[in-house]
Each structure stands twice: as structure tokens, then as C-alpha cells.
Symmetry: C2
Subunit: 509 residues, 2 copies
Amino acid sequence: MNDTAPQGTLQLRKVAIDTYQENVAYLSRDCAVYRAEGFQALSKIEISANSKRIFAVLNVVDDPQLVAPGQLGLSEQAIRQMGLAEGSPVRVAHAEPPASMDAVRRKIAGETLTREDYGAITRDIAEHRYSKMEMAAFLVASGQTGLDREEILSLTVAMTDSGERLDWHEPLVVDKHCIGGIPGNRTSMVVTPIVAAHGTLMPKTSSRAITSPAGTADTMEVLAKVDLSPDAMHHAVRRERACLVWGGTAKLAPVDDILISVERPLGIDSLGQMVASILSKKIAAGATHLLIDIPVGPSAKVRHTTEALRLRKLFEYVGDRLDLHLEVILTDGSQPIGRGIGPVLEARDVMAVLRNEPDAPFDLRQKSLRLAGRILEFDPDVRGGTGFHLARDILDSGRALAKMEAIIEAQGKQTRQFALGHLTTEITADRSGQVTAIDNFQLSKIASRAGAPMDKGAGVDLLKKIGDTVEAGEPLYRIYAEFPSDFNFAQNLAALNKGYRIEPHEQRP
Amino acid sequence: MNDTAPQGTLQLRKVAIDTYQENVAYLSRDCAVYRAEGFQALSKIEISANSKRIFAVLNVVDDPQLVAPGQLGLSEQAIRQMGLAEGSPVRVAHAEPPASMDAVRRKIAGETLTREDYGAITRDIAEHRYSKMEMAAFLVASGQTGLDREEILSLTVAMTDSGERLDWHEPLVVDKHCIGGIPGNRTSMVVTPIVAAHGTLMPKTSSRAITSPAGTADTMEVLAKVDLSPDAMHHAVRRERACLVWGGTAKLAPVDDILISVERPLGIDSLGQMVASILSKKIAAGATHLLIDIPVGPSAKVRHTTEALRLRKLFEYVGDRLDLHLEVILTDGSQPIGRGIGPVLEARDVMAVLRNEPDAPFDLRQKSLRLAGRILEFDPDVRGGTGFHLARDILDSGRALAKMEAIIEAQGKQTRQFALGHLTTEITADRSGQVTAIDNFQLSKIASRAGAPMDKGAGVDLLKKIGDTVEAGEPLYRIYAEFPSDFNFAQNLAALNKGYRIEPHEQRP
């Protein structure tokens, strides 16, 4: 033990290792505390000092240069969370297994959990008491037995309560959300400036991509800063009536973000989790009125309107009980929206629509106007049925573009210049004919493998959409990547399955 | 990059951190490879040199003292697996997500998987391509939708094929297995010497505890070495016709051990996984004849005989198809067997039975004789129905004790002396009456929290069993622990629920 430390404590030491979302603590194998408490490598420990307490996975160190007996090493994120200077005295103890894992095991056994259970689970997750393995168990279990609508309501309330809640002190605070699954589809970046230009408050917080090649936050980041402090976000919204920021820094439903960090690598996505995730984020962000876009199509997340209707009822059930005015709209999910898939390419499409460029993607424009129209009609002063025309006027007049530029200005212009990936190849048609289907899932996967959204310039640029005629050998789309291994992954995937169906033109008899 | 290393390679460096079951690689944030390949903290990478290849989780290092640019650090177990000297050139690449995760996602969606799917999953797990999170997803999914009997057969075959397979070159190789859930219950340590004293070959490999306070390997380790090399194990078996060792070193169905390292902290246990886990281990260990003990009781793993019968059919279905002669026996699981719970206490009970001590636990003796009798009858020369008496003769004559001492000798006597934990307390009866129920689950949990099986001397010693009369204030059991925090955990748990039901004696009218 170190002579200067009080009895039973260890000296805090920073270990310059980045362990990302997981706290890791390092303890010398020769440390008296390690031996006395019988800690095991990879068990969870609780580290405390004064009123501060964090949980971390324990790694055992056999090199006194790294961590000496009497010291407790913490990885970079763990020491940030602890918020103490190196050398501070800390205490360590075995972390008791999270009590709410009993509820998770009941869920695994097929039981319905109570509101108290969900409260306990989210509190334990928020306090970093769960390992990723334990969260995976919770997610798979609730995905598989399914959550009934009371459970979804409970989980929504619990996740909302797990973080901050914004209050904009206005009666009308609008928001929109698309349940995802459609590549491209960056309507929020067109809708938000239109709605804000009308004067309606739309403080849009978005997530980064979960399993897709880009989320709105990833694409907006090509143009502006998106990881604003809560103060900076409020400042932008007060000035421009809107923002387009990443929701993570605002600490809205933080448990949702932690769960997403497990869902993403596992590639799983459950209905009940999705409804709770979306609504908790929106309620925490202070929305009073919400439009939910459910794209329906053979390769969309939702394949049939019957499924979409079931989902709509779930949204309505939870929304109504939580005083959120909520409308659901079903849209065409048969193919990607716009042409680009990946942050830089999608930002290009969005700006083309806002600038009214003649070759701007028509489908992105039309869908954005339809959604914006419905949101504008949340305003009691807008007559039912006139929203679409109002939205079109705002877009065509250039007021939406001006608003977007003002929002970018208010959030802070992006200082880094993101270019398209320099590794590029064209994927061509095997036969002549007409494009009759595009597989959203496959195109997303190809863009993801190419490096999107981590590499902003990576992705896929579609040159043909459904209904277009192609000649054999003509390019269908272009892949962009920044790194050779990713480029190969994406090419291999496209070689396996291009994701396009081309059917020959009918022969005249 | 280091000047002496060939182009594109990194110099291997040992990082003296023990990361237990998980490989961790450390790469400098300033390393050219890190930047060029766009690696992300906590992503999985593949490390290769010549024909050797391992997978590891990546941590990013910001301290050149720890790992300099041009070096690749590996944690202690990772460098052991790699089997190369420090300074050796290695290559790194992004690890592609394991292809078999697609099958896991299909399982999550409720599909039935094929034999090829299970083969692919176990191969990927054996190659350390799965993160613990991904394994948790697989386990929960297959626990929840359940595995049908064809799937259990497929998984058994796949897990058996994942490792070595012992061949004893004899027509009769017997084994026994208890599905667990009953604390104490160390019958294998009585049965094996009885059977071996008869001359029947019984090379018993056991696991360490999964969620219980002790496995047979944990308890045997109090008396003898149990982590024998395959050669040493063969030597012991050839000499004494039996052994009582930990199965881990023999590399039998290693995927099972990896999955158990996830099941254990999660505290989950699924029927299909259990059948496949047990049978793959036994087949890999070379057993031709197997007796399976299913304890049934209100707080046992199996609560009703209908459930036990369903389980029996599953064992029979898989066993028959894999040419394993298998018999299932249902036993009384209404309370712990013997008196001690925890390695040192259980070893004491076992030796008392083998030594024919007058106060040896009678239930442990009787159950062991019953099981041994059934196993002895696998021998074609033993007349049906005479096994029990034969077993009793062997035990009473002292031949079983002599055989146990010879087995301990052959495996190597334990050199460490394990004492009972020095922290101890007695839990007393709240009222006078008769003990009518003991909760196996609660007693297991108290013994586990006290530190068993990690601390061999920790556990619970029962002073009263079902049917005994007690006075209010009389001790029911004693808790032993080695460390204060564990001692408190166990006491708190017992304060919450002692795990005993005591009913007043009926009053005379």
C-alpha cells in the first residue's frame, strides 16, 4: 500500500487506454486489496470516493510500471466519469450483481414485467451496473417473447426518466421520426428548415446510425457541428426555431443510447424496444406533437400494411397515455429515397433539394414536402389540407435553404472538409431491361461495409432507380470507400448480390 | 513503423494485463496501421503471422511507453494463444463479423436451425470470433424459443466435433452425470471409487461450478490435483481404472466451456443447451454407458416428474442417435444432499462416507449406493438387481476408500491445505417446530455469496434437515466465509430469507 494514502484506499492513476463505451479498471496482482478481497479478472468492481461511484470491469496487471500495488488504474473514459485528479484516494469493492437481473431472467422465462421492473432495469443500466453481455440478454429476451403494450409503456416511462427532459415553454413543439430501414431517406434535413421557416418550433435531435449506413446526425455532421452542449443547442433553437443535432450530448434517455451500443453490433432490432426507444427520446426532447413515418415495402423494416397498422396502434397506445399528440403516416418503402447512401452523398442530395437544383432527387423532395405539410398542419392556424402547398411555397421560394444555412451557422459550420472516398468502382447491369426492384437491405449493407457512417465519404451512389431502363453493362451504382479492406468487403458483397432486379422489356408479339 | 519490421507488419509486444477469457489487443492511436485501416476502439481485429491467426478486441493506447507506434500489444492470454516471441512480426486486419451470426439472428426470429448452422456457430465460437455479447444473444435466443430435438442433436454433434475425443479402447466405459441444482450432492466422489474398485473403467471428467457453490471438480480439488494434462489423466486412469478430474484441460467440447463462461455470470440455463452440453462432453470423454441423475423437487431445477420425463425423452433421443447407452434415474431433490455446501465442507462429507464414519451423512451414502448400483449393472457380468448390494459391499469393506486414496495419489495429492473460512456465524430458527422444507436455490445462493467455489473454505454447513425438530433460537446452519464483503453479502441474504420452512408440531387435542 502507498504510504500517503489513507488506510484501505488506493491511489487513482490514469491508464492511457481507450476502452470506448466500457469502463475498465486495472489493479496490480500484488496489490494487498486484490489479494484481500479475492477479486477475479473480468469481474465487476465498484470504485468510490466521497459521493462519487462508478462501476468497471477489472483487469489484473502484472507490471508495476503500468499500475503499482497501492494504485488503481482507470481507462480514459472511466477516469473522466470519476471526475477526479490522478493521485486521489479511492476505495474499491466487489460490485454486487445488479438486482434487476432477476427481472431479466424472468423475462427470459417468458414472464411479463411490471413498471417497477423496467424502472429497476433502466436505473441499473444508467449506473453502468450491466455488462454488455447482460444487456444483450435483456434485449434478446424482450425481442423474442415480445413486450406487450403495457410493458412498452413501462419501458418508455423508465427510459424517459433515466435522463434529462427538455422544456421549451411553448404549447407547440413538433418533431418527426422515421422508423428507418430505407437508405438515403434524409427527409428531416429538408423538413426541419421548412417547418422552422414557417415559425413552428422544431428542436430536432437525431441519433447516429444504429445498423444503417447513416443516421441524420451522421449526415448533418458533414455540414455542421452536431454534438452541441445543451446550452449551445438551446441557443441555436431560440435563434432559429430549430436545430438538427445529435441527441447524445443532451442526455435524453441515455439508457437508450447504451442499449443501442449493444443492438448495433448484434444487428438486432425489436418492435417493442423500437417504440419505447423512439417515444422516450421524443418525450425527453420536449416534443408535444410528433409525426412518425413508417415506410412499407418488400425490403423495408415493415413489409406489409397489416404490420404497419399493428405498429401504429402501439405508437398510439403509448403516445396517448403520455400526452403526446402523435400521428403515423405510411410511406413508400420499396426502394432507397434519393440517390446517395452514406453521409457525404446524402448531404449532397439534401442540399440539391433545398437549392431547388433541376436534377435534385424528385422522390426526396416529394416525400419531404408531404411530411412537412403534415407537420405544418399541427399548427392550429394552418387549415387542414393546405400543409403540402404551404411547404412547397417555403421550399420553392428559397426560404427553406436560407433557414438551413442559418441553422448551420447557429450550430457552427463544420470545419473539416469531408470528401468522397477515393476508392471507387461501378457495379453494372448483367442484362438489359427495366429495374423492377431494389433491395434496401442489401444496398444498406454494401454502403455499411464500404465504411459508412464511420467514414463519411464512404457509401453508394445510385445511378438507376425502379422504373429506369438499363442496358447490359451500364452502371447501376457506384461504391465509394476510404480504406482498402472496407472497399474489398463492399465489392465482395456486391459481387455476391447486387441488390437489383432487372426484368427484360416485354417483347412485342 | 519500426525499421526492422517487414512492410505492413507490426512488432509483437506483451502487455502484462490479464484479460481472462477474452483476448485484448493494444494499438497506439498514432500507429500508421491504425489510421490507415480506420480501426475503432472495441472493434474486433484479426492478428496473423505465418499460419497462426487469433481474434482480439482492440483497445487504443495513448501512451508510447505502453505500446509504441509500430507495435501491437497483446494481453497475457492472447500472446499465449498466438504462441510467438515478443518482437515477432504480425499483421492485423479488421475481423469480419462472424458469418454464423446470421443464423443466430434467424434463431432470434424464432426459426429452427440446421445441422450446418450449428456447425458454423460452434466453429466460429471455437475460433474466438464471437464476442461475449454475441454468445449471450445465441444462448438467450436458443433458450427462449427452445431447441427442438433435432436441433439439440445437431448442437450436440457440433459441440462434440469442436474438440478432442478420447478413445479408451475398451467396450465398457461408464460415466454418470447429475443435471444439478441440488447443493451438496457430491455423489460422483463416492460412486467413482466404488465402480473403479469393481474394475469397471470410469474416467470421470467434471466441470467446475456453473451457477452453483461447487462442482465436483471444485470439491475434488480440495483433495487432489484436478487440472491434469491429457497424458497425466490417461496415466491415472490406466493405473486406477478411474479418475476425478476437471474436464477443461482435456479440450473436450471446448465450445461448451466458452458458452458456460457466459451462462455463468448471466445465471441462465436452458433445457436444450443443457442436454447438448452434457452429452457432448460425455461422448467426447469416450463414455459408452451413461447414467443421468435428475433430482426432482419443489426447489430443484426440475420441479415435476412430467418435466423430468420430457427431459428424459430428450436425453434418450440424442443418446440413441449417437450410440450412447444411456439411462435416466429420477431422484429426491427436495433438499440438499449431505450437510456441507461448498468445496471444503463437501469434501469432508464425502470422506466421512468413504471412511464409514458413524455420523457420515446417510442421504449421501444411500444415494451414492443407488447410483453406483445402477452403474455396476452396466457390466454384463453383474446380475440385474444386485448392483446396490454389490456397491454396499465395496463401500463397507473399505475398498472404495482405498480406491479413492489411490486415485488421489495417481492424480497428485493437493499440496495446498484448504481450511474452512475463518468468518463464521450461525443462522437460527425463528420458531420451534419441525423442518418441512429447505430451499435448495436459496441455500445455494447464500453459499455462493459467501464465496464458494472461488474460496474453497466458504459455504454453508447444514445442522438441520427435513423432518428434524428444532427449538426457536437453535442453529439451522452455519455460514463460513474468507472475506468480509462476501461474509456480509451472505449474511444479508440469509437475513432476507433463511431458506427453511418450520411448522409447529401439531397440538394434541
